[in-house]
Amino acid sequence: MKLVYFSWIRERLDMSDEEISLPENVISLGDLTSWMNTRGDEFKAVFEHKNVVRIAIDQEHVDDMTLDITQAKEIAFFPPMTGG
C-alpha cells in the first residue's frame, strides 16, 4: 500500500510518499491512524492531531474511521485545503 503526504505533514515526516505493508491487525481506517501514531515521534506529532489530518482513500475524501482499508491502493494524509 502506498501512503502519500502533503503540505506540512509531508515536511514534518520528511517524505512525500512510502510503500508499506500493513500489520495484520490494521483493518479499519481508525486502526491505521492509531498505528501511524505509534511509528515514532514525527508521526506522533502529526497523527495526535486527529481533527486536523484529512484523509483520502484512492483519491476520494473519507471521514468514516470504520472503513475497511485493506484493499486500498493509496491513502493520502493532508491538512485542510487552502487552494483557490
Partner: protein
C-alpha cells in the same frame, strides 16, 4: 451522469499562466444559446507588501477529479452550459494569476451563481495547499484554512 453535447466542462491544473480571453472564447462558441458568461480570476496578493510569492502544492489526479465533480454539480444545480476551471501550481509571484473559473449560462444569474459555487467548493474541497514566501527571506509558512471559507458553503445548503 449524462452530459449533453451542449454542455462543456474544461478543467486544467497547470504551472503556466492562462489567458482569460482565450478561455472565454473556447467556452463561448460551442453553444449559441449562451447569453451570459461570468469569470473569476484569483490573484496572489502581496499582503501589504510583505509577501514575495506563494508556493502551491496539489494532489495530482485528485485535484482534477474534485474540480470536475464540483463543476458537474454546478452545471446540474444551475443548468449551466459550461464551466472552465484552471488552477495553477508551483511558485506564483505576487500579482500573478492563481485560479480562473468561468461559467456560461442562458442568463446572468445562473452564470454568477455557478462561478461563485465552483469557487466556494474549490477552496474547501480541492486538494491544494499554499505556502507563503516572504520578502524578508523568511521562507515558509503554510496558510491556515479559514473558517470563513467553510461558512461560505452554508449559502448553498438549500
Amino acid at each position: 451522469m449524462t452530459v449533453s453535447p451542449h454542455v462543456k466542462i474544461n478543467v486544467k491544473i497547470q504551472t503556466d499562466d492562462f489567458d482569460l480571453n482565450i478561455e472565454i472564447d473556447k467556452l463561448k462558441y460551442h453553444n449559441k444559446n449562451i447569453g451570459a458568461i461570468v469569470s473569476f480570476v484569483g490573484l496572489c496578493r502581496d499582503e501589504s507588501d510583505s509577501l514575495s510569492a506563494l508556493e502551491i502544492e496539489h494532489y495530482p489526479g485528485m485535484a482534477e477529479r474534485q474540480i470536475k465533480n464540483i463543476s458537474s454539480d454546478a452545471i446540474h444545480k444551475f443548468s449551466l452550459f459550461g464551466i472552465t476551471a484552471i488552477h495553477r501550481f508551483g511558485k506564483i509571484k505576487t500579482g500573478e494569476n492563481i485560479v480562473l473559473v468561468i461559467a456560461s449560462a442562458p442568463h446572468r444569474q445562473a452564470a454568477f451563481d455557478g462561478a461563485n459555487y465552483v469557487m466556494d467548493f474549490l477552496k474547501t474541497s480541492a486538494p491544494f495547499w499554499k505556502k507563503e514566501h516572504f520578502k524578508d527571506g523568511v521562507s515558509g509558512k503554510w496558510v491556515d484554512a479559514k473558517d470563513a471559507d467553510n461558512t461560505a458553503l452554508d449559502k448553498w445548503k438549500h
